[in-house]
């Protein structure tokens, strides 16, 4: 028995050595890695998997046209967990071939991980972390291609106030993203003299929100504003309507995904979400991307941040193409970049935030997210 085990182990080791050898032989020329960190498993894996698709497309396209450099995607999983995010960040900075990081998705992950990248002077461009604090830390290596929660939260507050909604109940998930968004919404809504009836936190991963919703029902709000992700948002929308609390749920980009509608079912009808940027099918340059995405990943619905990840990956590729692998020079290059991509033109301000601050409001109609006027 022991002999067989030994034999299996030794042959496994041999096979892995051989396959390593093969890998190097196949790739001639320089291999440059672009790291992507997002939740590939866990509660919000659907969004992370979509981002991986976006980055994969960008890398493949670059490799088709380039001869001298070979790009490789190093996709790591942070499970939307700050601890895992820092682990992944440490793994990335120890890899000399990595020249830039795309990620992370969650602000709660991006903020601690950005400190690790900063220590190693590695550029990080987040396509999806919207908490303002990320770029307020004074790190010169941190950029993002999505706009921030203060813009999004106050846009939502403005939007609902104009619809004659004067009383709202606010729920958030206590994460930097969810709570940050909810606070921005609250601030603007109160400045407009709207009434915030309650401001309550929930736990990530919780399934039962009925006790809270019964309490909110007694306050008679006209809408529920939710700062958080689709998993909890979908359940809140569903349970609210089951309790006879028939008001729309309004959320941010965290609930703007098909998964939300799957979870909430019919209850999602009329719910609204703000999403950064213009709708991708309205941008002329995105058409090509949408086509390619559909042929390459036929079984997956496109997630909201996939075009952003695609552009972000391309920004890093562009920098390496023009500048080489010097990490400091890449940061300088990206700082002054003017990139015309599928989400529109991306330029960064002195903090590293994008100057593209457009926001669109969507609502669920006939089981689909549609642009809401």
């Amino acid at each position: 028995m022991r002999k067989i085990l030994c034999f299996v182990l030794i042959s496994l080791v041999c096979v892995s050595f051989v396959s390593c050898g093969v890998k190097k032989d196949v790739k001639e020329g320089k291999v440059v890695k672009v790291a992507l960190v997002c939740p590939l498993t866990g509660d919000i894996a659907a969004m992370g998997q979509g981002m991986k698709n976006g980055a994969t497309l960008a890398i493949e396209e670059a490799n088709q046209t380039l001869k001298e450099i070979k790009f490789e995607l190093l996709a790591l999983d942070d499970r939307a967990d700050p601890k895992e995010a820092v682990n992944a960040a440490n793994q990335i900075v120890s890899d000399k071939d990595v020249c830039g990081v795309v990620g992370h998705l969650n602000s709660g992950c991006s903020i601690p991980a950005s400190a690790v990248y900063n220590r190693h002077n590695l550029v990080m461009v987040s396509p999806a972390s919207t908490n303002p604090k990320l770029t307020q830390q004074g790190f010169t290596n941190v950029f993002r291609t999505c706009t921030t929660d203060d813009v999004q939260g106050s846009f939502a507050a403005d939007f609902v106030y104009k619809k004659e909604i004067k009383g709202v109940a606010i729920i958030h998930d206590k994460t930097p993203y969810g709570q940050g968004l909810a606070e921005e919404f609250q601030k603007t809504f109160q400045n407009l003299r709207g009434k915030v009836l309650c401001f309550e936190g929930i736990s990530l991963g919780d399934r039962d929100f009925k006790a809270l919703l019964i309490k909110i029902k007694g306050l008679n709000p006209q809408i529920i504003y939710f700062g958080g992700m689709y998993q909890e948002g979908g359940l809140i929308s569903k349970q609210a309507k089951e309790l006879g609390l028939n008001v729309p749920l309004v959320g941010g980009d965290g609930i703007y995904t098909g998964e939300y509608i799957k979870i909430a079912g019919k209850s999602s009808e009329g719910d609204m979400a703000t999403m950064i940027g213009s709708p991708p099918d309205k941008l002329p340059k995105a058409k090509d991307f949408i086509e390619k995405y559909k042929t390459k990943f036929p079984d997956m619905d496109m997630q909201p941040y996939d075009p952003y990840t695609y552009d972000t990956t391309n920004i890093i590729i562009e920098a390496v193409k023009n500048i080489g692998q010097d990490k400091g020079k890449i940061i300088d290059y990206i700082k002054n970049i003017k990139y015309d991509g599928i989400i529109g033109e991306t330029r960064f301000d002195e903090k590293g935030d994008t100057l593209n601050k457009e926001i669109t409001c969507y609502s669920v109609k006939d089981g689909k997210w549609q642009i809401s006027e």
Partner: protein
């Protein structure tokens, strides 16, 4: 509003109580905490999920809601029950003579194993549970109750009444009680304790499996790691009622559900899960034996 919260709490409590029964029964006979029980509960939810999905494509069952549900419950209960027996046979029985800590570690190992196994099989993402019957709201004055809540409350009470009858009135129940009070003496009296222990695992796991389906139906979404928090809460319920005591587990479950609902409504929803742990700590400090528990005689 307080009555509304009470109904919510009782629904939740019924589910906790069903899971807590599994902890308490196993503790009753083996004096160990079966930490893999939370994963059995999760497995029950997924068995129910796959059964109900496959039923909806069988023409014979398509229009018969009652039969679909009955079959889903029975098959899922048997499957989780068998899973319970398998776990006992391979992870706990070889360690029965070992020190008290060893089977506990084995239980945690089984729990991690099952969780990861399900993650690989069913994917890490949440699955929307099929909507079996349309949820109807009934309004009694200011109070609204929906059909699912009535269904869950009825099922959980019914199961507990049947279990209580089984334990108190039948011959097998007597054998369980005898084994529970002393395994060795029961064996000397001619009881096949091994099969009694298997039976206890079967019943406990089966009830946990049903609780899994109920949770799936109630919240409409299930996930591979959903067992953990329910497991901890049900364990708290079992300790609150007095671990090893069957009526105690039921009382503990309902009490915890109601306390959690009220705490969430009147204190803060941000600390919803904290209430269970505060209760657990308080019980351990003030009355470690729980509400109905008796002092366990230390065996020399």
């Amino acid at each position: 509003m307080i009555f509304q919260q009470l109904i919510n709490g009782i629904t939740l409590g019924g589910i906790y109580a069903l899971i807590a029964l599994g902890y308490t029964m196993v503790y009753g006979v083996l004096l160990m905490i079966n930490f893999a029980h939370s994963e059995i509960f999760m497995a029950g939810a997924f068995f129910g999920f796959f059964l109900l999905i496959s039923f909806s494509s069988i023409p014979f069952l398509q229009n018969n809601l009652f039969l679909q549900l009955l079959l889903a419950f029975l098959i899922s209960m048997s499957l989780t029950g068998i899973l319970g027996i398998i776990i006992e046979r391979f992870a706990y029985r070889p360690l029965r003579k070992a020190s008290r800590l060893t089977p506990l570690i084995s239980a945690i190992g089984v729990s991690i194993f099952l969780q990861n196994l399900f993650m690989l099989v069913v994917s890490p993402q949440a699955k929307p549970f099929p909507e079996i019957f349309p949820v109807k709201n009934f309004q009694f004055g200011v109070l609204s109750v929906n059909s699912l809540q009535i269904f869950i409350i009825t099922i959980s009470i019914l199961l507990m009444v049947v279990l209580n009858y089984f334990i108190k009135q039948t011959k097998l129940g007597t054998a369980i009680r005898a084994t529970s009070s002393d395994v060795e003496t029961a064996a000397l009296m001619g009881i096949n304790t091994n099969s009694v222990i298997s039976l206890v695992f079967f019943i406990g796991a089966g009830l946990g499996g049903i609780a899994g389906i109920l949770v799936g139906m109630y919240y409409g979404s299930i996930k591979y790691n959903m067992g953990f928090i329910y497991g901890i809460k049900a364990f708290t319920a079992a300790v609150l009622g007095g671990i090893g005591n069957i009526p105690g587990a039921m009382i503990g479950g309902y009490l915890l559900g109601v306390l959690e609902s009220l705490g969430c409504a009147y204190i803060s929803s941000a600390y919803k899960d904290v209430f269970a742990f505060i209760i657990l700590i308080l019980v351990l400090i003030i009355k470690p034996t729980g509400i109905l528990g008796e002092r366990v005689q230390e065996k020399c």
